[in-house]
């Protein structure tokens, strides 16, 4: 496997030979920040195209096919439109909070995005509390949504924000507990160690039954956290216009849109990292020849392949199931997912203690 940290260490050494420590750090901060922001935007563009094509496929349509071959430049045209649209100012709102809210949503998802390992050695920062960090910063997004709903001074926005708050706060619990189940199996929170430990087989095969249950619960809870699919009642367009971002226009709406798509990617990549081995190729412990063949595929391809496969599942669910009511949504979480999750955690602890994993 090609280790990308060779490149980054080489750049670091190169800068250090010519510049003092302070400037090296300053340059690296800026470069890492710009690269991550660019990646964030590009992934959003790719996802918008991906979603529109998949959606069209499920509805027996063609989807975007005018701008460029197979319509691949459609999302760039959409982006340009979004960038030059007018931002409509609104009276009788708390201006400061109104303008702050979209930034909050984007920053929360960007903080999570920063910690994701994209490939072998391609990780901006690797905390020893990895999974806990991801859970902590992703819980900030709900504040932006609540702020947006309140600052819009509009009943629909308010109802949307309250629904979204109830939904995010309750489903965060399930997502956290199902990740905790896998942390019990891995015995570590650091993302690089978690991936390293999956070099024989991925955790979903290592932990067999409880791991599969945790995986399914994480996918459901994560899908609910992105406010999409059957869980999109915070922005149910038939009742609430557009929920908490009804009053936003132009680039401000664009930021909510961006964060929504990126949250889908983040959920998929956390699931990839914790359950499906992140950038680790499909290895079977003992079969060295097979493992070597698998190693020829670059780690970045493995990571994005798995993440996009999970996102395809998410889109499949989104375009298949009808929207839930708020009581059904809360029933699903508090009466089914959470008890199953707790029992599952206990089973996983038992399996790890007895050594019944691969």
């Amino acid at each position: 496997m090609f280790d990308f940290s060779i490149v980054t260490t080489w750049v670091d050494q190169f800068l250090r030979t010519y510049l003092p420590e302070f400037w090296v750090l300053a340059i690296e901060f800026v470069v890492v920040g710009v690269v991550m922001l660019a990646l964030y935007a590009v992934i959003a563009l790719v996802l918008i195209y991906f979603e529109r094509k998949i959606c069209a496929f499920f509805q027996c349509r063609l989807g975007p096919n005018r701008v460029g071959p197979y319509g691949i430049f459609q999302s760039i045209a959409d982006m340009l439109k979004m960038l030059i649209k007018e931002i409509i100012p609104i009276n009788h709102t708390d201006k400061l909070l109104f303008y702050l809210a979209p930034f909050f949503v984007v920053v929360a998802s960007f903080l999570t995005f920063g910690a994701i390992p994209f490939g072998n050695g391609l990780q901006a920062f690797d905390f020893n509390i990895g999974v806990f960090y991801l859970l902590a910063v992703s819980s900030l997004g709900v504040i932006g949504i609540l702020m947006a709903g309140w600052a819009s001074n509009n009943k629909y926005s308010m109802i949307g924000a309250m629904r979204s708050g109830a939904q995010l706060v309750s489903y965060e619990l399930s997502a956290g507990l199902s990740l905790l189940t896998m942390v019990v199996l891995s015995g570590d929170l650091q993302l690089s160690t978690i991936i390293e430990k999956q070099s024989d087989t991925w955790f979903i095969f290592q932990g067999h039954l409880p791991a599969v249950v945790a995986f399914v619960i994480y996918l459901i809870a994560g899908h609910a956290e992105t406010n999409r699919g059957p869980f999109d009642l915070p922005e149910a367009e038939s009742e609430l216009t557009a929920g908490y971002h009804t009053e936003y226009s132009g680039l401000q709406f664009g930021m909510f849109y961006l964060a929504e798509y990126l949250n889908m990617f983040i959920i998929a990549s956390i699931a990839t990292t914790v359950f499906l081995g992140g950038w680790m190729p499909f290895h079977i412990g003992g079969l060295d020849g097979f493992n070597q063949v698998m190693d020829y595929i670059p780690s970045v391809v493995w990571f994005f392949g798995k993440a996009f496969a999970l996102m395809f599942l998410s889109l499949w669910v989104r375009w298949t199931f009808p929207r839930l009511r708020i009581d059904q949504l809360l029933h699903l979480e508090w009466k089914y997912l959470l008890p199953i999750n707790m029992v599952n955690l206990l089973i996983m602890v038992g399996i790890v203690l007895l050594g019944w994993y691969f």
Partner: protein
């Protein structure tokens, strides 16, 4: 040098938003400023290398308690509500109490925390250390206090139910 710049930026943010959060007359704005203070404090922990504490600060205070605050504000007040300006008579004792608090805390920090920092060698605790310290019953392990604190939480939940039932 880079660390110092980051420290000063965070310190200025903490001071400025603390002052704004007590002087703002709109309650949700105060809550937002308080949130910034909490996040900047998490930044200070990160700067010290205490990643666990930073994540706890964000997930418990910013992600948990602030969301509860904002929820309760949303349920009880309207957009455009403003608090009345506080009169001088009430401002004086509040200022005096703040000054006394500053003096006491400053004294404790200056005389004791300094000593601890110089006596105990600083090293970043691993996740496993933190887990064992929190979940054991031997010497220097704190399962019992941890559980005792959860009784306090239970008591406050019961109290909240009592207050809510009265209405």
């Amino acid at each position: 040098m880079a660390e110092q710049i980051i420290f000063y930026v965070l310190a200025i943010l903490i001071v400025a938003f603390s002052i704004l959060s007590v002087t703002s007359r709109r309650i949700l704005r105060s809550a937002t400023y308080l949130l910034f203070v909490l996040i900047a404090t998490a930044g200070l922990y990160l700067l010290m290398g205490y990643q666990f504490l930073a994540a706890v600060q964000i997930s418990v205070y910013a992600g948990g308690i602030m969301v509860l605050y904002i929820f309760s504000i949303l349920l009880t007040s309207h957009a455009g509500d403003k608090a009345k300006p506080v009169s001088w008579k009430r401002l004086l004792p509040a200022g005096a109490a703040a000054a006394v608090g500053l003096a006491v805390c400053g004294h404790i920090i200056y005389h004791n925390v300094n000593k601890v920092m110089s006596l105990v060698p600083f090293q970043e605790p691993t996740m496993q250390d933190i887990g064992r310290t929190m979940m054991g019953t031997d010497k220097y392990q704190y399962l019992l206090p941890f559980e005792a604190i959860s009784v306090l939480l239970l008591a406050s939940i019961v109290g909240a139910i009592m207050i809510a039932r009265k209405r």
